[in-house]
């Protein structure tokens, strides 16, 4: 029943906020998201006591004619993703406190609706239900980008929408194909394990077709080069909170999907095409890292840097070994926290300096060393210095990739060099040097901003110094996924 509660809290909040007019209920939105976070921590607590506890799952018949069930549960992988989502949503809400969006009740309503859909995506054990949540998640982010985005957002958002919607259709076809192969005895099922069995029963060609149709959907969402061009534009025009939702959590739907809905289902397809997909990832890492080095706009810069990091996540997952998969899960968590941190930094920059163009900024550390410190810590996480959250994931992912192919790991490893190049360069341009006219107004931060930054920095450090509580769940999760392959 806890799973229903996890869906119900944000849904209830979303309904209240979407119905309410005006912009006076931000505290309500924050409170609901905090309650949701507490409940997910409680779920974590229960999971630690008894992983297969019946409280952590719920299954009821849903659409009988197609055999779809409302089947949601919490296992190792979904627990981590839910913790990430529900940890980040309150931060994202808090990060908008000073912004004062017009019609902010609707704005928060969409965020919470999105939270419901994301939690649903991560918990669904039924292919149809998964697809429904997946599509539902697209709607609020579409409106958030469209209604609260900056200039040119309509065109960009449409591009984003068509792009990902097209991907979703590919995914639907893949899932339908699997579904059609379920039930030898005539009763079709959307159950995840049935879909795995269906996939494994198919021949190489069929598995390959399913692999590509589903992989393309995920590759667009993550995104993986060359399916990434929607992302930089969207990141630039979307409101910051929309970008945080997108890069912090929503992209993880795809890497999560890769681990739960694709890898265990088509082992033969992976055997044939996994290598090609990995090549795409490795090329993407280098290609986007190099582009990131030359970017002038901070948002566009993070977009490219993010594509590079996400490609490491995918590469780890596709290595198909314990370290690779575990690393990709840990990197998802780190990337989520760091992406929200990086975008919050730009929110503050734009508020005080009025621009996100890197060359126009400079010397901010002279004026606000506290802000400089937080930015620095987040940067360390992105650069994956040991004792920050980025390290363990990156280390394990690359280690896994190395076991798959040392040469690929060597190329993918270039990201640790390029990552240092573009992050340090950006940090230096924005924070160090002499104060410029644009940055003169950089005063002290407000309490809500300080709190948000402090929580993110603490998370970056805590997950790096003592990763064990999360890492042991990731270890189990990777183990469970590998069990399906072997």
């Amino acid at each position: 029943m806890l799973t229903l509660l996890l869906l119900g809290i944000p849904l209830l909040a979303a309904l209240i906020l979407l119905v309410a007019k005006g912009s006076n209920l931000k505290n309500l939105a924050l409170s609901f998201s905090l309650v949701e976070f507490v409940v997910s921590v409680y779920a974590w607590f229960l999971y630690r006591q008894e992983p297969s506890s019946s409280v952590l799952s719920f299954d009821a018949e849903w659409i009988k004619s197609i055999g779809a069930h409302f089947d949601v549960s919490i296992n190792a992988l979904s627990l981590l993703m839910i913790l990430l989502t529900n940890f980040l949503i309150p931060l994202i809400i808090l990060s908008s406190y000073r912004k004062g969006y017009a019609l902010s009740n609707k704005f928060y309503g969409f965020i919470l609706l999105m939270q419901m859909a994301l939690v649903g995506v991560f918990m669904a054990n039924d292919g149809f239900l998964f697809y429904v949540f997946w599509e539902v998640a697209l709607i609020p982010i579409y409106f958030i980008c469209l209604l609260w985005g900056s200039e040119g957002t309509a065109r960009v958002t449409l591009k984003f929408f068509i792009y990902t919607f097209l991907g979703s259709l590919f995914m639907l076809v893949g899932l339908l194909y699997l579904y059609n192969h379920t039930g030898v005895d005539g009763t079709k099922s959307w159950n995840v394990n049935e879909l795995y069995l269906a996939g494994k029963s198919m021949n190489v060609k069929e598995q390959s077709a399913v692999f590509w149709s589903v992989f393309v959907a995920f590759a667009i969402k993550m995104p993986i080069v060359p399916f990434h061009t929607w992302q930089p534009d969207t990141y630039v025009t979307a409101p910051t909170q929309g970008t945080m939702l997108l890069s912090g959590i929503m992209l993880k739907m795809a890497s999560f999907g890769l681990l739960k809905w694709l890898i265990p289902a088509v082992p033969l397809g992976l055997e044939v095409w996994g290598h090609t997909a990995l090549m795409l990832c490795v090329i993407g890492i280098i290609y986007t890292s190099i582009i990131a080095i030359g970017q002038k706009d901070y948002k566009r810069f993070i977009a490219y840097a993010s594509v590079a990091h996400v490609a490491v996540i995918a590469a780890g997952a596709l290595s198909l070994n314990q370290q690779g998969i575990q690393g990709s899960i840990m990197l998802m968590l780190a990337h989520g926290v760091n992406a929200v941190g990086l975008f919050f930094v730009v929110e503050i920059l734009i508020r005080y300096a009025g621009t996100s163009e890197i060359p126009k900024l400079g010397g901010i550390r002279n004026l606000n060393s506290n802000f400089g410190m937080h930015f620095f810590i987040i940067m360390l996480g992105v650069v994956a210095i040991p004792l920050t959250n980025g390290f363990i994931g990156e280390f394990l992912s690359l280690n896994g990739l190395y076991q798959y192919s040392p040469v690929m790991a060597g190329f993918a490893g270039l990201s640790i060099i390029f990552g240092a190049v573009y992050m340090l360069r950006t940090y230096q341009h924005i924070m160090l040097g002499e104060v410029k006219d644009t940055t003169l107004r950089m005063g002290t931060l407000e309490a809500s901003e300080k709190i948000t930054l402090a929580i993110i920095s603490l998370a970056v450090l805590a997950m790096g110094v003592y990763p064990a509580p999360l890492n042991e769940i990731a270890e189990t999760a990777a183990n469970e996924i590998l069990m399906h392959i072997k």
Binding site: L169, T229, Y287, I290, L396, L398, A420, L424, Q428, A468
Partner: protein, 628 residues
């Protein structure tokens, strides 16, 4: 008692946290005291641990703190190893670290960011201690990255100056290039031996094929070339002199840059097993030593001379490692830490006296004005030049004997390096302290000896530079070489020198005589003739020009790496991403539009027709993929 060693890194960590969080609210005196006391406590425990280890039966104690990373067969505990090797490094790091903290109390007295400086310094010591105490390659790597980070922070300590920031960034990025090699080395070690813990790997090192061992050794060494500033990754160290001078002494001379040596000594088994890897280490070390010494001849910035000297001395240590002289190299790390820290701190005292001037052409005649600085710096110079009985003589001689046995040609070039070292160091001494003062009259008026907080560390280090040789007296003198005996247990393959006593005496004599001759030449040129280096490039002879320009290495890297990457960044973005990929996407979009105008004919408003059409098209696409 041994378990207390876990406290050694804890004190500087606490010092960092206190100064980092509350430094701004504290008085300078308090934050300086916190940082220095933290170091003193660490030093005290290190000393106790060290002394206990001398008599202990068990030469290796493992202290387990908690499980850091667990991934199936990959188990990485947060674990420390206290053994003869780490205990020597503990003493160097905390001992010299403490002296440099004291020195910094005076040197940084007028800096506004006093607390931040000490916070970084403490943090550096913390990571350096992790580096040498780690019981597996990952904790070593953690310290390795951490000291790199602190180096970045301290080189760019005065962050308003973008030239300093660039130097800091350069140091970090070049180190990261090495780190990739190190990381790949760790991956290979894990895939080969199934562990990253030293105790699991070294006894089983022989289980891997020779090719794998060589690859591991080379990858680790590539990592070392970054941190220890060897060819091809040495160019960051001279630029790193942008940091405050105590930083140069602690990080860029005595401790961090020797991390590469530590790592190779720790992994000595791989090098003993691979002649190829050893040869590469020896040759790269020698080439670095030679090139850096040559460049050192033409430097006029007092800190840059010392920086190139450090690169050169590190090269000698790697030459020693390649020749199998592991304990001799650790010995040289130790004595080098004494005299090079001394030289840097003395240089800092000179700069302090000169009001920030670093160009030795604008100094001269300082010996009467800053007596303690002069005498201590002279001691450091004699030590590094290899004149007996100062410490540098013994450690260098030990390495040279091994190199001679390893390869006569390498030994010959190493002798040239030694000669060059003596020359540029005495050039520095004569130009700085002798002759007439060449600065402004205002500077002359202000000349003063540094406060006791700065001179006391100088005196202590000078004493260490004089007597440090006692740690490793030559065996052929009939003495016992403590360093060699101490490190006995961690060196896997022993390599006893088989040179006759007579040969060793001759080698030693040659080294001393050549050093003395070179010093005389330097005396003749810079003291007697009073030559001051030229200001302008045009006055240089043709053969001098490449050396003056540091063999154009920075320019070559700029041309070969930085510009192509910038070019690629620009063209990937503007051509590939904005044009090609987007065109494809838009092209698909447009063709859909055109196609749509025909399709419109069959649009009848019936939703089910649409869905059928949509699913049909997707199936077509799938069939397409499916059939090819």
């Amino acid at each position: 008692m041994m378990k207390l060693a876990a406290l050694v890194p804890l004190f500087p960590l606490v010092g960092f946290i206190l100064n980092g969080l509350f430094g701004k609210k504290m008085s300078k005196g308090l934050s300086g005291t916190i940082a220095s006391v933290a170091m003193l406590l660490s030093f005290g425990i290190s000393l106790a641990v060290f002394l206990e280890l001398q008599t202990a039966e068990n030469k290796a104690t493992v202290i387990n703190l908690f499980s850091w990373i667990s991934s199936d067969t990959l188990q990485v505990p947060f674990e420390f190893l206290i053994d003869p090797l780490s205990s020597v490094f503990l003493l160097i790091i905390t001992g010299i670290g403490f002296l440099i903290h004291i020195y910094s109390l005076g040197y940084m007295k007028h800096d506004d960011a006093f607390a931040r400086f000490f916070a970084y310094l403490n943090l550096f010591v913390f990571f350096m201690l992790l580096l040498v105490m780690g019981n597996n390659y990952l904790i070593l790597f953690m310290g390795w990255e951490g000291v790199g980070l602190c180096s970045y922070l301290l080189i760019g300590f005065w962050f308003k100056n973008n030239a300093y920031n660039d130097a800091a960034k350069k140091a970090f990025i070049i180190n990261r290039i090495g780190d990739l090699g190190f990381l790949l080395g760790i991956f290979l070690i894990f895939t080969t031996y199934g562990s990253t813990t030293f105790g699991d790997i070294f006894p089983n090192a022989g289980m891997a094929s020779p090719a794998v061992v060589t690859t591991i050794a080379l990858l680790l060494f590539f990592g070392a070339t970054g941190k220890s500033a060897q060819i091809p990754l040495f160019t960051w160290l001279p630029d790193a002199m942008a940091g405050p001078t105590p930083v140069s002494a602690l990080i860029h001379a005595a401790t961090m840059v020797t991390a590469g040596v530590y790592m190779i000594v720790r992994s000595n088994i791989f090098y003993s097993m691979s002649e190829t890897a050893s040869a590469v280490v020896a040759i790269v070390g020698l080439a670095t030593a030679l090139i850096a010494a040559l460049i050192g001849l033409f430097q006029n910035d007092i800190k840059k001379i010392l920086a190139y000297s450090t690169v050169s001395q590190l090269g000698l240590m790697f030459l020693g490692l390649g020749a199998g002289a592991f304990s001799s190299s650790v010995f040289h790390v130790t004595t080098h830490a004494f005299f090079k820290a001394l030289l840097f701190l003395a240089a800092g005292s000179v700069i302090h006296a000169m009001g920030g001037e670093q160009d030795i052409r604008k100094m001269g005649g300082l010996k009467g004005k800053i007596k303690i600085t002069f005498i201590t710096m002279l001691i450091g110079t004699i030590a590094i030049s290899g004149i007996p009985p100062l410490s540098g003589f013994f450690s260098k001689d030990e390495i040279m004997a091994h190199v001679f046995e390893y390869n006569g040609l390498l030994w010959f070039f190493a002798m040239i390096v030694s000669a060059l070292t003596a020359f540029y160091m005495f050039r520095l001494i004569f130009l700085t302290f002798y002759g007439k003062f060449r600065g402004t009259s205002e500077q002359e008026h202000h000349l003063h000896e540094s406060p006791p907080t700065m001179t006391i560390p100088l005196v202590v280090l000078a004493a260490l530079a004089i007597f440090g040789g006692l740690l490793g007296l030559p065996e052929f003198w009939g003495m016992s070489n403590w360093m060699a005996e101490n490190l006995d247990t961690i060196i896997m393959h022993h390599h006893e020198t088989r040179l006759s006593h007579q040969t060793e005496w001759i080698l030693m004599g040659l080294a001393v005589v050549s050093a003395l001759i070179i010093i005389l030449i330097a005396y003749n040129v810079y003291r007697k003739k009073g030559l001051v280096p030229v200001e302008k490039e045009q006055q240089l002879k043709d053969w001098q020009r490449p050396i003056f320009h540091k063999f154009y290495v920075d320019e070559i890297y700029d041309f070969l790496v930085r510009r192509p990457v910038d070019f690629l960044s620009e063209s990937f973005y503007k051509v590939l991403d904005l044009q090609v990929v987007s065109l494809l996407v838009d092209g698909i979009g447009n063709s859909v539009k055109t196609f749509g105008s025909y399709i419109r004919l069959i649009q009848n408003g019936n939703v089910s027709t649409y869905i059928v059409g949509m699913v049909m098209s997707i199936i077509c696409i799938l069939l397409f993929i499916f059939l090819i």
